[in-house]
Subunit: 162 residues, 4 copies
């Protein structure tokens, strides 16, 4: 499985819902659900964010780490961190959310570029060994997400790492 790339580290300028910054290395051994969103993206608000929040509330203790990434690539002035903070409060989002680092002269933020994301919502699954195993743009239904999560949870960290 040499073609499966290691997930690159995210670049975050500010965190919400976590006391300390979170890195990929710290989450080694867990299955990571990384979801990129914008607070004014309707499909994120109605589907992807509540779905990620449910995974966090129900499976955070069972080996899954859910990370939200605010990847603003349009309407930048409308989605500043102060607005995101109000949004997370009003929508009762409790999982950690990082603000993707802005790049001078580029509307696309750093991590979004690094992962080659096409838009929001984007859902990425990273296995216990840090390899990227799924990258999906658009709405992903619960059943399919569950099956992929279940398969990754069944893998031993060391098996994949070897």
């Amino acid at each position: 499985m040499s073609e499966m790339p290691m997930a690159p580290d995210w670049q975050v300028s500010q965190w919400f819902n976590t006391l300390a910054p979170l890195s990929l290395a710290q989450l080694h051994g867990r299955v990571i659900l990384l979801h990129a969103f914008q607070m004014l993206c309707p499909g994120c608000v109605s589907h992807a964010i509540p779905q990620a929040e449910r995974v966090h509330r129900e499976y955070a203790g069972d080996g899954v780490a859910v990370i939200g990434l605010h990847t603003v690539f349009e309407h930048h002035t409308a989605m500043m961190p102060v607005a995101l903070e109000a949004f997370l409060h009003e929508y009762r989002v409790t999982h950690p959310v990082g603000v993707d680092v802005a790049v001078a002269g580029d509307p696309i933020p750093a991590t979004m570029r690094l992962y080659g994301m096409r838009g929001t919502p984007t859902l990425i699954l990273i296995d216990r060994a840090g390899k990227q195993r799924l990258h999906e743009f658009g709405r992903m239904d619960d059943l399919r997400l569950g099956i992929r999560l279940g398969q990754l949870l069944a893998e031993e960290a060391k098996m994949v790492a070897d």
Copy 2:
């Protein structure tokens, strides 16, 4: 029915989705659905705004005027007009929306105070003669809204005015 108050005029600092400002007087003869919302209020986003938009798209030609009112009373910096504009674009809101006038030293904007609204979403129905006939805070289901709209539509402007 002398106890039925005339609806007070709204006070708006900026309009979207209309070429010219709109006043109650201009809409005389039509049934008005006035809905107060905040762009970061989950119940507004998931229910009240799309409901108002459906009424606008399906009944604007049949004697109903739908007016949105952005009554920001919390998280003011997160819901500036520039953010509202992005929101209306992303959520494909096509009915006229006014920004309720801010009042110095008061978190509650002017029209919200004038109508005695308790929060968002709030839905107000005004009859063909300009009288306020319904004021409801919270989620209103389609069936009940439809019945009230149908009853008001059945009234002749002059009958009520007398």
Copy 3:
């Protein structure tokens, strides 16, 4: 409005959820929501029957009479009255339901023919004076149903009768 036909009387072989048979004449002065369904019609089960039941529970005291009509025109052996009775019990249907009279040699029952219904679900609105005002085949959304109900409720029985 001379072209608006008087609604024909329904023909029912057996009633559920009512102590005595119900006729159009008895309901004169009320707005009647007559909905034709089959217990094995998916659109009836998921939408039309619960919609009619909600109208019954919320507006039966406000001048609306809801009548269900079991118009079996296919799978006759699967939808006998004994099966309908179990269905009404399991789905907690509390509004009156009549079984449309079977006609020898015809798969279509009598009232279904009389009203010229094309299938199920079919929703018919009859005004306070007994005139048929709406006949709709297929799914009808709550907002539109509400508006039509509201308009009919606003009519005085005598005004229409004249």
Copy 4:
């Protein structure tokens, strides 16, 4: 894992949507989703049956076998096989469905007793080696079902059998 019981064979008097009867032994090596339902059980019709059908349509080729079991324990005359056949046709159920064998003098059919089911809907997951791994009465959400399916799919048949 010696306490994990082998799933007992189902007892079926009539099959739909399959040319030949299906047994547990035949499905060895696959993950089996066995769902018990009644055609007049609202929670089965609105949730469990469409959920099972989706799993069948999307994952039947990926090692999952979906089996419906019509476990009639009430309203027996309303849910005879002829009625079930009409139901499966109208609701476009395409996965194999067996009729649980009736037992003289007992309202509960044979397989329902054998598995100790409490009612409908009941969902049972059987692993590739024939062991029962989940038994759930009531509504099960897609995310949780997906995770359990994914975990079982990740197991090798031989690993479990040993």
